[in-house]
Amino acid sequence: MRLEAADALDRVKGALGDRVTDASLNHGQVDLTVEPDRFVEVVTILRDDIALGCRFFTFLSAVDRSTYKFDGDEHREAGSAGSQNGKGGIEVLVHLYSPDMIWHVNLHVPLDFESPVCPSITGVFKGAEWHEREAAEMFGIHFTDHPNLTTLYLSEDFEGHPMLKSFKLPARSYVKAWPGAKDPDEAAAAGGR
Amino acid sequence: MIEITLTAWQMLVVKLLIILIIVPVGALVGGYVLHKEMAHMQHRLGPMYAGGWHGWAQTLADGIKFAYKEDIIPASADKRVFSLAPAVIFVPVLLLYLVIPIDRNLIVEDLDVGLFFLLAIGSVGSIGVLMAGWSSANKYALIGALRSAGQLIAYELPIVFSAAAIAMLAGTLSLVGIVEAQDWPFILWPPGLGLALFLLFLVGAMAEMALPPFDMPVAESELITGPFTEYTGMRFIFGFFFAETAHMIAFAAIGTTLFLGGYKPIVPWGPLDVIPGVLWFFVKTSFMVFLLLWIRFSFPRLREDQLQKFAWKVLIPLSLVLILVTGAWVLYGP
């Protein structure tokens, strides 16, 4: 039972009302902007409402908008906290899908750049656990109420958050010193690991 | 006719030499047959280069390579047990060849209780596997050893029972006597019973030797090599590869002796008597080896608990029933 994008937008607006700060269509998919404190509520409604039925968790990630050229914008430096409409910080991006009615919804959750904190939706979608772990280590976002917010890809002693625009790729900008021993004798002297 | 008289000690040396030469050579040939048969069944060629003609020296080359390997014992392993385990596995396999009759008069040691000796010696290897797994200080080896111990104990019984049934039918425990008591058409007589006993023996033997579909203990994709994971070099070759191949050939020979008529011709047709018994024995053993290997490459492996269930709930009650039927046949049959 296919739901056309325009109808989907109407239904979403009707069900969510003022819980979302912005709702529009983008290339045939519904785009919503939600504040962090209403994030979990909105996701729960999207999943549980029979008329919406977004039961399929596609992904959760983030975008560092600090150098994004918003309309009428000059070039901005990476990590600049100043933003337009509160949109130039770190943005959590969630994509949900309704398998029965075949429509997509993108949720944008703008966060404060200096200390990005976002509630976790692992209570709603179990699959968000790994996605949130990855977003946390890559962007430095802290997800509250997450059952196991440890690093997923990176080692525990990794410094920095790679996906931020202020993190330069080593090969193209600077070279970091090799952290461990440089030859087998050194390694053995250091206690053998 | 050359008259050779040898003292008892000299006879002993000759017999040991025969075993120590024949068994490794047999294992080498068996290994080559394994490679080639597996290859052709999988639509490829197998060893082709070692030795020139179709890679006949492949297993020999492998053996020489293993002799060059470094002998590694894990630091936290139990050294004495670790070193002894391959011997405990390999020596009983060697001893199995003592009592197998190749021809009417060609047997290393014609024991009156040959069959009993075979079954007893065959079960000593289980201890060796446990020793290998436990002393390796490796969790995977431990899991493999525990699985193996359970499996070997469970599948001893079908072998023992089917061999006992054959002993009942033949009226003797001596292997030469058993072969003599067999007549054409071998496993088809007694009707149904012979075939059932043969299949029981076959399944038990495959599990005894941890061949697929019963190779959970050495499940390659899970436990790498099970109890033998930490073994390298000559220890590995003797404890694992040699033992496995020699064991398989030994069991094929035992199966031939018990069920297929040993060194007797396939059909009791006059002109066939000119072919020596050794050749018949060789042909029948080769057929058994081929059968074992064929099954080995075709099936996925049973899970350990399914394996155990199969043994204790199906095979052992079945073997008990077959013993009863055999007893009835011996008493009341023709």
Binding site: N26, R55, F59, M163 | M41, F299, P300, D305
Partner: protein, 389 residues
């Protein structure tokens, strides 16, 4: 378990274990088993930290990231056309399917129209790659269960298809052939016949494989009712592809939101009913048949014409964001492209199927046997490059 022998009961051994036993309690320990990162059964560097009690897994925690190459950061530094070869190496068994979402996303943003010949050829090549991928997992799953022979049969079939793809793209595993707007170049003469022959040979031999495995009693015992993944759980983890369809999820991007020209072809979507290993494997095998059908229809109806649309010399996507998803052989591969004008993407979020599928493993592996763990890992059809990106 109490010890009745009076001699043993009087045993005053100082070890705690002896005391425990003589008091009538048997103590067992839970063991921490590291499956991987180097292990024959785990398709690459994948580590599973399993807490096992005897032969039963109490808890299994996958530890990934051994192959993390930082794709999402790398693509931000590269031209759109340089990204094609990079993201082809994620799910390395479906090389050409990985290039598809990028090409489609750029075509959507830049509003390029792709000529029909390119569309048909894209479909044919993508489906041939799907057959390659599924045959590979067919052999790896059987090998893990102990049946070593199907490996060689599968590779024999793959050889012909890989050869056909090599004549077109020059590669056997990584192709680098799709461009925004069409293809790199046209197919050589004789490709259609060669591809059709290769695909038909696979279909002719497929019933043998089915008999060899799905009809085998041992195989059925090892896979039926093992590793059941519930449909709602699968939805909440985002499990898609053959694994999702094995749990009777009715999702196939090719049918639901047809991209390229999939709406012109006639094919079925295979679904399992129980969500166990057997169903996932069965879906895998039957998808090969459906893919072959699509290849035949695509190559039979191949229209003549150009293979590249009107693409400006400099590939610059206008400002905008779009999420494009395709049906990768392993599941739903999605690309969220954020562009702020320019030759490089601002941000690409690559939603890989294996990442979501593997995140459902802890749930499925709870309370299973160690030997079943291997069957379940094998039936989850993941590629480490996809999980780690």
């Amino acid at each position: 378990m109490t010890i009745k022998d009076p001699e043993l009961q009087n045993l005053q051994d100082s070890s705690a274990f002896a005391t425990e036993v003589s008091e009538g309690r048997l103590v067992t320990e839970q063991m921490l088993l590291n499956v991987g990162p180097q292990h024959p059964a785990t398709h690459g560097v994948f580590r599973l930290l399993a807490t096992i009690d005897g032969e039963r897994i109490v808890r299994a925690e996958p530890i990934v990231g051994y192959m993390h190459r930082g794709y999402e950061k790398l693509v931000e530094q590269r031209d759109y056309r340089q990204i094609t070869n990079l993201i082809s190496r994620m799910d390395w068994l479906s090389g050409i399917n990985n290039e598809l979402p990028l090409a489609l996303a750029l075509e959507e943003l830049m509003e390029i129209e792709v000529p029909p010949r390119a569309q048909y050829l894209r479909v044919a090549l993508a489906e041939m790659n799907r057959i390659l991928n599924h045959l590979m997992f067919f052999q790896s799953f059987s090998a893990e269960l102990g049946a070593i022979t199907p490996t060689f049969y599968a590779f024999r079939e793959r050889e012909d298809i890989q050869y056909a793809m090599e004549t077109v793209t020059g590669g056997r595993m990584h192709f680098g052939f799709f461009r925004p707007g069409g293809l790199k170049e046209d197919v050589p003469r004789g490709f259609t016949a060669m591809a059709l022959a290769a695909v038909r040979k696979v279909i002719k031999r497929l019933p043998d494989y089915e008999d060899l495995l799905t009809g085998n009693e041992i195989f059925k015992q090892r896979t039926i009712d093992i590793g059941v993944l519930d449909k709602e759980v699968a939805y909440s983890y985002g499990v898609s592809g053959p694994i999702g369809r094995g749990s009777s999820i009715d999702m196939d991007v090719r049918r639901d939101e047809p991209y390229l020209v999939y709406d012109e072809f006639d094919f079925d979507v295979c679904r399992g009913t129980h969500g166990d290993c057997f169903d996932r494997f069965w879906v895998l095998l039957h998808e090969v048949i459906e893919s072959a059908k699509i290849v035949e229809q695509a190559l039979a109806g191949l229209p003549p014409g150009p293979i590249m649309g009107k693409v400006p010399r400099v590939v610059e996507a206008p400002k905008g964001e779009v999420y494009i998803r395709t049906e990768n052989p392993l599941g739903e591969l999605g690309l969220y492209l954020v562009s702020d004008g320019g030759k490089r993407p601002y941000r690409i979020k690559i939603r890989t199927p294996s990442f979501s599928n593997v995140s459902a493993l802890p749930h499925v592996l709870e309370n299973t046997l160690v030997a079943d763990m291997i069957a379940i890992l094998g039936s989850f059809f993941f590629v480490l490059g996809d999980v780690d990106r």
